[in-house]
């Protein structure tokens, strides 16, 4: 039976959260995209099993977790940082992150606007599809460590900016 419009709307709405969860386990953009697609297919196949009286995201993340583990095994990329208990923790906690992540995403936009041009340019190069940090360092004439340090500082600034922005919103 084809998925209903409501189901497709939910699936569309939570793409970002599913991607973020999958990414937190695989840490590779291509693998994350592939596994997200596979997850979407499974979710669509299982649409009839979804109980519309319950929350969508926890159910979807459960399926995403299995798909991610299966995908990592299939891709033979199981140089796995996380054990099973940790994966379960992360899945449970990610399901409750929805409103927090949305607020952080909105704050991220503002924080990126505040970045100095040089930092922004570095991020553009770093997050280009297929960017490789080692090649990027060579192209910039930097050691890998020097580039990693720069990226770490920029990410740190963004995280601080997001935290500050959320705190300001809470006060206002």
């Amino acid at each position: 039976m084809p998925a209903s419009d409501d189901f497709v709307a939910l699936l569309t709405k939570y793409q970002r959260q599913l991607h973020a969860y999958i990414f937190s386990l695989v840490w590779n953009p291509t693998d994350a995209d592939d596994i997200l697609q596979e997850t979407n297919l499974v979710l669509l196949k299982k649409a009839a099993e979804f109980d519309a009286t319950r929350e969508f995201l926890p159910w979807a993340i459960t399926i995403a977790r299995f798909q991610t583990l299966a995908g990592l095994k299939r891709l033979q990329r199981l140089r796995f940082v996380f054990d099973e208990a940790l994966v379960e923790f992360l899945a449970d906690e990610a399901a409750s992150d929805d409103p927090v992540l949305e607020a952080r995403r909105l704050a991220l936009e503002g924080c990126l606007q505040k970045l100095p041009a040089a930092h922004r340019d570095l991020l553009i190069r770093r997050y280009e599809p297929k960017a490789v940090v080692g090649e990027m360092a060579a192209a910039l004439g930097l050691s890998l460590k020097a580039l990693s340090d720069r990226l770490r500082r920029i990410r740190g600034k963004i995280l601080n900016c997001i935290a500050h922005s959320l705190a300001q919103d809470a006060l206002s």
Binding site: S24, D33, N40, L86, L101, E109, E128
Partner: protein
Amino acid sequence: MTSRATPSANTLPQHEHDELLRLLNALADGSLAEAEEQRLREILHRGEHARRLFREFAALHAGLYWDYAILLAPRRQPPSDRNGRGGGWWLPINRAAAIVAAVVGVATLAAWLLVAIPTGPLAVVTQARFLLPADGKQPLTIGQSLEAGKITLLGGVVELTLRNGVVIVFEGPGELDLAGELAATLYDGNVVIRMPKGMNGFVVQTPATDVLDLGTEFAVSVGAGKTTDVQVYDGAVITSTHRRREAGGPSQRLDAGEAARFSAESNAETVPMFFRPERFVRALPSDVGIPYPAAAMKRDEVRHFGPARNAAITVYRAPAGMAIDGRLGEWTDRPGFSGTRDGTAACAEWADGRMMYDEKFLYIAAHVGDPLPLRSIIDPEIDGAWGWRGGSVQVRVSTDRQMGWPARGNGSSYYMQRLITPSPEDEERARNPGLAHLTMWFHAPTQTPCLTINDGMQFANSITNPTGFVGAFIPDADGKGYTMEYAIPWSLLGCGDDPPQRGDVLAAVWQVIWADDAGRVRREQMVEIRNPDEPLQINVWERAATWGRAEYR
């Protein structure tokens, strides 16, 4: 009572917080050592606070991939509704955002909705050359301001400078829909987009693909069958075909020096192409801009459509032993037509065209006056459909003996421009393979005589340099013209078993096209052998009834 402070599930000592961030950065950038993995696991098991920081960092890292276009968006300024025309102006930007969203996985449109603030005309015409505007359209002039909307050219090149500094060089014939400072749709023709230093994010949408600029100079061409060619001169672009996007597939990156062809067909694959830097007009010299005075419209009608001075051409029986060498020795006493481009005897652009036939071949010969002869750089391997552009002779012939003369059949543009819906019979006539379009040119870089054949009024089944034809060009000794001679098998025109016979009157029309000094841009044209009963303001390539009489003797 005293109590001893112990780390709870919801707190994380500062040093562990810092250490966790260091480890996560190493994980993100692929430099996490095995021992560090173990340490990361330990910290994450400590409690929810560590895992929340982990999820926040992972969401940031994933989000920068997912929301990559936010990084590319120019710095945001406060929105305004200047000129009270916000709605019509913002919508295309919104659409562009949706395109970008599809290309790089962006769901956030807000940043894109705010990226471009109207502070003057959207674009100014900064250069123009050999412009031929479409029917009924006012010609563009240098210095003219433009707002969002469609620009249609039948020929020539125009350079637009957008208010954010983006330069667009648009080469006709074609149609470009300028949507905003960072978005345009190319339906037909060529564009080169050049971004100001430090800016990126321009999206060109075509019937086959979307092209997102990453700070660069790149060219996009939409040609026959709505295929899209993309060539990157500098920087990089991300491309995503509509087919691939619908299938949820990945986008593709092209870097400087790379080129590819994308098809609008649902089952076609992307094809890598050779990088040909000379293929596109990237800039127009500032001293050759030619304003297009409105008073010249009457003259421009002539430039568009003719006028032809001859309504018929005799197609003579060819003598035995034809030698296709460009010397035209066999053509004595077999006259065709003669004329100059503007009808004056002093005009340096003129043509003397002739036709012959036998059981196996159609023979075409011409002596063309051309101050810039035989310079075409239009590459037959990749741009055969545009072979006319760099200087050429085009002959359109009907081989449909049953239809006779006048020929019938109109191209889709004929109906579209006149807001007419073709009937099924009209569409069938437009597919008549007995209507053939022959484009003959000399490819200067390889010194090769070239031929492209299309059939029907939809220019189907395009084939370039097919086996079996012979062509030859010879430049005039004074450097002001050339002769050309071709033998084209009837079998290539689909009538090998029923070629035209003595006494037949079929349809044919000639176009001679002169190009710029680079052999790339169509400059002027002349039409000959045209049906005088048809109105002048119809392009011969879109209506077969405009073709004159080819009388086989």
